[in-house]
């Protein structure tokens, strides 16, 4: 059922080089239980276990906090409140606003109030129950509408303008308007937030954490302790999933553990129980988006006025960049002509929403895809026809609302191929026939594209470092600034290095990401892990390789072009020796066998003040076609078949890339279907466990799930012409949501575009069907 693209590099495949579908570097250890996560590390002597207590009110003033009974509870060694923090008390990642523990103001239901360290996990958690506090409740702002009414934001409202959209709308042949509520999403990384901190002799801290951003954890731990960054070392071997949820929001637990370690002089581990993790950490931003589009008789968009409102929670965190990215993707793959795109960053008394695979892009894209269906229904056209007609094109139709020229648009060709391989039009007919004959069960079909901008929109983050050592047995130690969270980064970077030296992959040893190996790293985020760290590691490898070539040229009296690295061997003129022999000979002749590598992304420029520039090096593209079946009596549905064609440039590892595409698709499908965050009227998260928050289970896997790679090299000069793959596939399942609407629309002969907020739970689907039936009744 799965089709791996044939590699064009058959020899490379046998050696595990770039292009080879080798297994994840930890796979054998993962299946045998040997792969260690933070909570699995051998525990230091005298380890203490920490726990936190969370506020039970969404907004107000903390009038009193009595933890005397906590301090004397069995096993308790230390307590921690904000007053115990010697350094900075605010751990906001980019902007201030995130107190490490409550500072008197209660900002959301679930805010950490204090922490405790005890001899066992159970004692620490039990002790938190002994506290008493008084909070004078304030007015909690819990929704986008409330925040907009109160004009409370975590950042300035931003607008992109290309042309005069309002004039464009006024002169458009037709207009369509709408509003959509897009739900948030809990990350549900299988490994929850955890940090283990070991105090060192110089007052420093060694921090083992499950974080996508070790350098930021280092900075924040140093700052709360009031010590130089150089005394804090952060080590991340792997995460049990991250998805953005451990980009900024892993730091708080490391900081609290470090503060308790400082206070007690003992190692401290803090692991959040799942319900606390789900309650206190931020999620994907819910959005409420509105649009008015003008279009002509053929459905071609003439103007667009789009407003996106992100529900950011109590603090800025990364919300400004996230709402920006929603705005950057409000066009998806379509040319909007005259466009205004406005993004509001709504402050609410909820957990501070944060990075999540796609980083606002998915919520932006949903808006235009919702509108596309509307145009199609209004004109009586198939939605695919309208989508294709509006794609970016040649000169005159290739500039985005933020004035970036799209130079690598492959969507028309990619969609053509998928349309054909998925047999779209024949299935469209078959589904119409089925629906005409089936009174209760209805089917829907949709094909939607994805165009996703690759690069951090904060320009300075687009840099990376790597460190490579060659040892005298020829083995290679590899370190870089990227973190491994399951996405296969370590595997791909090792493949790149093995390719450079032309050695078997097993020669290359990946190692834990550490702030004392490669400093000042960027988060592993924005899909950029391989683009940045792979290129940095490639540069480090090339530095050493160049030294070896220069040495061999001199030592063996050959020209550089007579030297060839060949699968663990090196041909040097007439000499053929093993890679290890060359390395040993180089060592004996005092050649440095260690090098750093560095990379920064070229061509980027962005002027936030004018909303113009080139925030992305390139775009990653894809499209998917989904078929669903719905039950009009219950709203239940099934995803029957999915076909995907996705662009990863020249794949570094087709198995890992397909894994990212399939995994991203299912995760995005969960976001749009069953994953429902629910709060009560007091702002308490009700869906705070996997019993009440439902990510896709194995039975939700489409029985027909065809995934193929669009096999063309990246037109930009990335590492081996590959493309980023982490985030873009998350938006492919927008076709599932569109197919659900298509099935619903079939009950009104496809003439009305049904409203369907997300997540489209069975309840939402049933209500959409009812609402549509009401509209039909009113019309007749």
């Amino acid at each position: 059922m799965r089709k791996l693209t044939e590699s064009r590099l058959p020899e490379a495949v046998s050696q595990g080089h770039r292009g080879a579908a080798v297994a994840h570097e930890s796979a054998a250890r993962q299946v045998s239980g040997q792969a260690r996560y933070v909570d699995d590390l051998p525990e230091p002597a005298n380890l203490l276990h920490a726990a936190v207590a969370l506020s039970d009110v969404a907004a107000g003033t903390l009038d009193s906090l009595d933890i005397t009974q906590v301090a004397t509870a069995p096993g308790v060694v230390a307590t921690l409140t904000l007053a115990d923090v010697p350094g900075h008390t605010d751990i906001g990642a980019v902007y201030p606003g995130d107190p490490v523990l409550a500072d008197g103001q209660i900002l959301f239901h679930g805010q950490p109030l204090f922490a405790v360290a005890a001899d066992t996990v159970e004692q620490a958690r039990q002790a938190t129950l002994q506290a008493e506090w008084n909070i004078t409740p304030g007015d909690a702002i819990l929704t986008v509408d409330q925040a907009r009414a109160a004009e409370t934001y975590v950042g300035d409202t931003v607008q992109f303008r290309r042309g005069d959209a309002l004039a464009g709308l006024a002169s458009s042949t037709h207009t369509t308007s709408g509003e959509i509520h897009i739900g948030g999403q809990e990350h549900f990384y299988l490994e929850g937030q955890v940090s283990l901190v070991i105090p060192e002799e110089d007052g420093g801290m060694l921090v083992y954490t499950s974080s996508q951003h070790p350098s930021e954890v280092q900075k924040l731990v140093a700052e709360v302790l009031g010590i130089p960054f150089s005394r804090v070392t952060v080590d991340v071997r792997r995460m049990g999933g991250g998805f953005g949820g451990k980009e900024t929001q892993a730091a708080q637990w490391a900081c609290i553990a470090a503060l308790l370690a400082r206070k007690t002089g003992r190692a401290v581990k803090l692991r959040l129980p799942r319900s606390q993790d789900m309650t206190t950490t931020g999620k994907r931003h819910p959005f409420v988006n509105r649009w008015t589009l003008g279009y002509d008789d053929s459905g071609l968009i003439q103007a667009a006025d789009i407003e996106v409102n992100g529900l950011c929670g109590f603090s800025p965190d990364l919300s400004n960049a996230i709402v920006d990215r929603a705005m950057f993707h409000a066009d998806n793959g379509y040319f909007l002509n005259d466009a205004h795109i406005t993004g509001y960053r709504c402050r609410t008394n909820t957990a501070s929403n944060t990075a999540f695979r796609g980083f606002g892009g998915p919520q932006g894209m949903m808006t235009i895809e919702a509108a596309m269906d509307g145009i199609a229904r209004n004109l009586g056209e198939d939605p695919l026809t309208i989508r294709k007609r509006n794609l970016y094109g040649d000169e005159g139709r290739n500039v985005t609302p933020y004035h970036m020229t799209v130079t690598d648009n492959i969507l028309p060709e990619l969609i053509d191929r998928l349309e054909h391989s998925a047999d779209y039009w024949a299935r469209r007919e078959a589904i119409r026939d089925f629906n005409a004959r089936s009174p209760i069960i209805k089917k829907g079909l949709a094909l939607t594209p994805v165009k996703f901008g690759i690069s951090f929109t904060a320009k300075h983050l687009n840099q990376a470092g790597a460190l490579i050592h060659l040892y005298t047995d020829g083995s290679i130690y590899l370190n870089h600034g990227g973190t491994e969270m399951g996405q296969g980064l370590f595997t791909k970077v090792a493949q790149i290095v093995a390719t450079e030296f032309s050695v078997p992959l097993a020669t290359v040893q990946s190692s834990a990401t550490r702030t004392d190996k490669v400093p000042n790293t960027s988060p592993t985020a924005a899909s950029s892990g391989t683009d940045l760290n792979g290129a940095a590691a490639q540069n480090a490898a090339r530095t050493i390789k160049q030294r070896l070539i220069e040495f061999a040229t001199d030592h063996y009296k050959v020209r550089p072009d007579q030297i060839e690295f060949d699968n663990g061997q090196v041909q040097i003129g007439e000499h053929r020796l093993t890679f290890a022999d060359l390395v040993q000979t180089a060592y004996m002749n005092r050649i440095s066998l260690s090098a750093t590598g560095y990379y920064r992304t070229p061509k980027l420029h962005w002027d936030a003040a004018t909303g113009k520039g080139r925030p992305f090096l390139y775009f990653a593209y894809g499209a998917s076609c989904s078929e669903v079946t719905i039950d009009t009596l219950t709203g239940e549905y099934a995803v029957d078949r999915v076909d995907i064609l996705h662009d990863v440039g020249d794949s570094l590892n087709p198995a890992i890339d397909i894994g990212q595409i399939e995994g991203g698709f299912i995760q995005g499908m969960g976001w749009l279907t069953t994953e429902e965050l629910k709060w009560n009227d007091e702002g308490r998260l009700l869906s705070n466990s996997p019993a009440t928050y439902k990510i896709p289970s194995i039975g939700d896997t489409p029985p027909i799930f065809n995934v193929d790679l669009f096999d063309q090299p990246n037109r930009e000069d990335t590492v081996f012409k590959s493309k980023a793959v982490g985030e873009p596939p998350l938006m492919l399942p927008i076709s599932v949501w569109c197919a659900l609407r298509d099935a619903i629309a079939s009950t009104a002969d496809y003439r009305i575009n049904p409203a369907l907020n997300t997540p489209a739970t069975p309840e939402q689907v049933l209500f959409a069907l009812e609402q549509l039936a009401d509209q039909v009744r009113e019309a007749s």
Binding site: V31, V121, L190, E191, G486, F767
Partner: protein, 487 residues
């Protein structure tokens, strides 16, 4: 005293907290950290282990959630963990298959998938995609999207040969037999009774009950253990019902099916589906494979949860339950057992002993509908079960319905169902009857759904039942696999 095999190592636990979970035992005491904690509530499967036990048919391996299983319940069994599968330096076939199919990404859920697949590998189930999905229904993965894991499972089932474990079975059986020392209730006279009782007979159960009047009953502990792991309660006096012979027995006679209260759903499956095959989808959506390996009818009734899935079915089938205190018994309809939110008629010294299902009446119709946000392994938004008997002229002679998720207790709507008696089923006024059904309901909004949805969908499920029993050619289900095929 609890004796079990940890992989191949005999272990004796004395003076261990009664509510110590298998997961905490493994990670904190045995220092085997391959088994992961994902949720500590039995919902994610990262902690899945396999327990081997001697049965009349030989060794049997089953998956369970170690986070909500008490370690003392392992007495006399073999606990298999992920670290043990690799033997003589070679990955087990299930591990190898996951590697080859790229079935792990972050790897945190992987040990749980490995153990569920190991149990599948050692089962006698025929190879099919459904068999793989069912075996892995309790394992969540957030990275892969499952496709490679399904492929690995399919490949395994198609080439199941023996493994190192098959070769060791005789030895393991001998080792387990050597552990088989019955646990007798400890004599105690203090008021504050602490301990874990594991009676083997009804008589010993009565003794344990007398000795530890405050102790909680534990059968599969799939619900009880959450009080410990989620609400931080101390469950320091437990009576384990899972080894009481009389409560683990299923018998069939002409009156019906008699199911011991501690029979697991997995063990109940063949007998239930023989008489009532329409209950298959309902059963497959009840929890997950590891939950069904542990959960019991007695536990589901005893918890008296408004969202339990079994009361609606038992009510619709006209089931009765026998309560016992070891000396006297009483039998009453299941509909009268539950009196309020998590309240039952059980007296302090009583336990739920046996549940009786009537034999199938020829020509009767049963439909067990479960509606939930996610199709598998989810708590019901509503669970609605209809049972219908008609005479030769299609006149309704009996209609019983059980409703879950619609009130503080499982609901019986006697007036509503009685109005249908004597009516001609194919021509009943479906609109009116579904409207009166809706009018009789007053559910609440909660995390799973709104009250409005619950009412609407329940009324619509009556429409579905009528359609399915009068127009069998009309497709009414989105899934065509599992249960009845309505394609």
């Amino acid at each position: 005293m609890t004796d079990f095999l940890l992989n191949r190592q005999p272990v004796t636990l004395a003076k261990t907290d009664p509510d110590l979970t298998v997961l905490d035992y493994l990670r904190e005491q045995a220092h085997l950290t391959g088994t992961k904690e994902g949720c500590a509530s039995g919902d994610c499967g990262a902690c899945t282990v396999v327990v081997g036990e001697l049965t009349d048919q030989g060794m049997r391996y089953r998956s369970l959630n170690s986070c909500i299983t008490f370690v003392h319940s392992l007495h006399g069994k073999q606990l298999l963990t992920v670290e043990h599968l690799e033997q003589a330096g070679a990955l087990h076939p299930v591990q190898q298959a996951l590697v080859e199919h790229h079935g792990s990404q972050c790897g945190f859920c992987t040990p749980g998938f490995v153990m569920s697949l190991f149990a599948l590998y050692h089962s006698d189930v025929a190879p099919s995609r459904e068999a793989v999905l069912t075996a892995l229904s309790g394992n969540l993965c957030r990275c892969t999207g499952y496709r490679p894991i399904i492929d690995a499972g399919m490949a395994l089932l198609e080439q199941r040969h023996g493994d190192a474990f098959s070769a060791q079975i005789a030895d393991i059986e001998a080792e387990l037999r050597s552990l088989e020392t019955p646990v007798l209730p400890e004599e105690t006279k203090t008021d504050h009774v602490v301990g874990f009782w594991q009676p083997r007979t009804r008589q010993d159960l009565a003794k344990a009950r007398a000795q530890a009047p405050g102790a909680r009953y534990s059968a599969g502990s799939t619900d009880l253990a959450l009080e410990k792991t989620q609400r931080l309660a101390n469950l320091n006096a437990l009576i384990d019902l899972s080894q009481v012979a009389e409560l683990n027995h299923i018998s069939v006679d002409d009156k019906g099916l008699h199911i011991g209260a501690a029979v697991s759903y997995t063990d109940l499956e063949p007998a239930l589906l023989t008489d009532y095959p329409e209950a298959r989808e309902w059963l497959e959506r009840l929890g997950s494979r590891p939950i069904r390996n542990r959960g019991t009818l007695g536990g589901n009734l005893g918890n008296a949860s408004p969202i339990g899935d079994t009361p609606p079915l038992l009510i619709a089938l006209g089931a009765t339950a026998t309560l016992s205190n070891g000396q006297t018994e009483r039998t009453l309809p299941v509909s009268e057992l539950i009196t309020g939110y998590r309240q039952t008629v059980l007296a302090d010294d009583e336990w739920i002993d046996t549940i009786h299902l009537p034999r199938r009446q020829p020509g009767s119709q049963l439909r067990a509908y479960k509606i939930s946000k996610r199709f598998e392994d989810d708590i019901s938004t509503v669970c609605v079960v209809f049972y219908l008997e008609t005479d030769s002229k299609d006149t309704v002679t009996c209609l019983r319905a059980g409703f879950g998720g619609l009130a503080a207790t499982p609901l019986v709507l006697a007036d509503w169902q009685d109005q249908l008696i004597g009516q001609h089923w194919p021509t009943v006024a479906v609109d009116t009857i579904s409207r009166t059904l809706a009018d009789a309901l007053a559910p609440i909004d909660d995390v799973r759904a709104s009250a409005r949805y619950r009412v609407q969908v329940t009324a619509n499920l009556f429409r579905r039942f009528h359609l399915e029993t009068t127009q069998p050619d009309t497709r009414t289900r989105v899934h065509t696999h599992g249960g009845l095929d309505h394609a």
